[in-house]
Point group: C2
């Protein structure tokens, strides 16, 4: 095993360190966040820091790191109160990555991804995404340590490609071809090992 | 596309709703968190809510949801200030899942996973894990909305299986066989699509 102490991590050059530290948590979720500003200009940006906060009521959390992520998305959500989350597939993961560039116009227009509007929801969904969520702002908190902003959103609408919805409510992410990201620039799909029975102390988990 | 409004989500039974909402963010990181209480009893538990907070200094965040996760891990970290994060591989993902059961003794003893101690670090690592991090408590914040606790940890030690470390500092998670989780009980490995060049507005991303 290769060992890095904190002092050794600090001594590495910033490019090496950033690549390494960004990989340490493992595979990350990938979502395109769609918003619109008060002038009506749409915005789309990739995020790997979206996570489950609660099922009842249904809530998601998003971390916005001040120095590494464009702030348009956060500002649009704070201004309008609405945003969408959209899973990415192998068919458009390069366009999804490209939305992170510094564009003057809307990232939809720039990258060729198409806006979709439905159910009177004001923020744009990504046409062709197999999991689309319409969300509204609930609250934000700022972390003292490095000014990272944690935003909590409520889930108002769920749109799903039928092929990925199982009878028990779980999603077959392999069938949906949902993409996951590692580090700053590496994209993957998942290959299922197994679903396991609820963990009980008396019995080794079995495959469902 | 299947559509669920918030009202329809609330009308679904709690089992269906919990499965569905837990899947919506996409693939999640999977880490075993190793701790020890002040009496010297070790603890091990699976977490899918570990994420990158910053590279300089190197920081990780963990979300602890009060009603769905055992509190031993959080209490041990608050008492002692130290914990480990350990990637899971296909070789022991069932044991990793099993640590979530309600055990009276240490989860290491119960499931057969082995403790490893090194560099005078007081919390236990998981022997055989290809990515092991020794971390210390920096701060915690409690979310108003549902009492979820966000814990920030500093990374003091990184141990890596050499086969997964690339010259630029990034990790080859496919080579390390890092496992990712979706929903509450489904485990996957990753299959790489591509790494992409830094996103620039003038040029479509290329594979590295």
């Amino acid at each position: 095993m290769r060992h890095f102490s904190l002092d050794q991590i600090k001594e590495e050059d910033s490019f090496f360190r950033r690549n390494l530290i960004n990989c340490l948590s493992g595979y990350k979720s990938l979502n395109l966040i769609g918003t619109k500003n008060t002038k009506g200009i749409s915005n789309l940006a990739p995020f790997s820091q979206v996570f489950h906060i609660g099922a009842s009521p249904p809530l998601v959390g998003i971390l916005f790191r001040p120095h590494t992520v464009k702030r348009d998305t956060l500002e649009n959500i704070l201004e309008t109160g609405f945003f969408t989350l959209n899973h990415v597939t192998p068919e458009f993961f390069k366009e999804a990555h490209w939305t992170a560039a510094d564009w003057e116009q809307s990232e939809f227009e720039a990258t060729g991804l198409q806006e979709e509007y439905k159910e009177d929801f004001s923020a744009p969904f990504v046409l062709g995404s197999p999991v689309q969520l319409g969300c509204s702002l609930v609250e934000t908190q700022t972390l003292k340590i490095n000014q990272t902003v944690l935003l909590i959103g409520g889930i108002d609408h769920i749109f799903l490609d039928e092929k990925g919805l199982r009878p028990d409510g779980s999603l077959d992410l392999n069938a949906l071809e949902t993409v996951t990201v590692s580090g700053l620039d590496e994209y993957h799909v998942g290959r299922k090992l197994a679903r396991l029975t609820y963990a009980k102390s008396g019995k080794f988990p079995e495959e469902i």
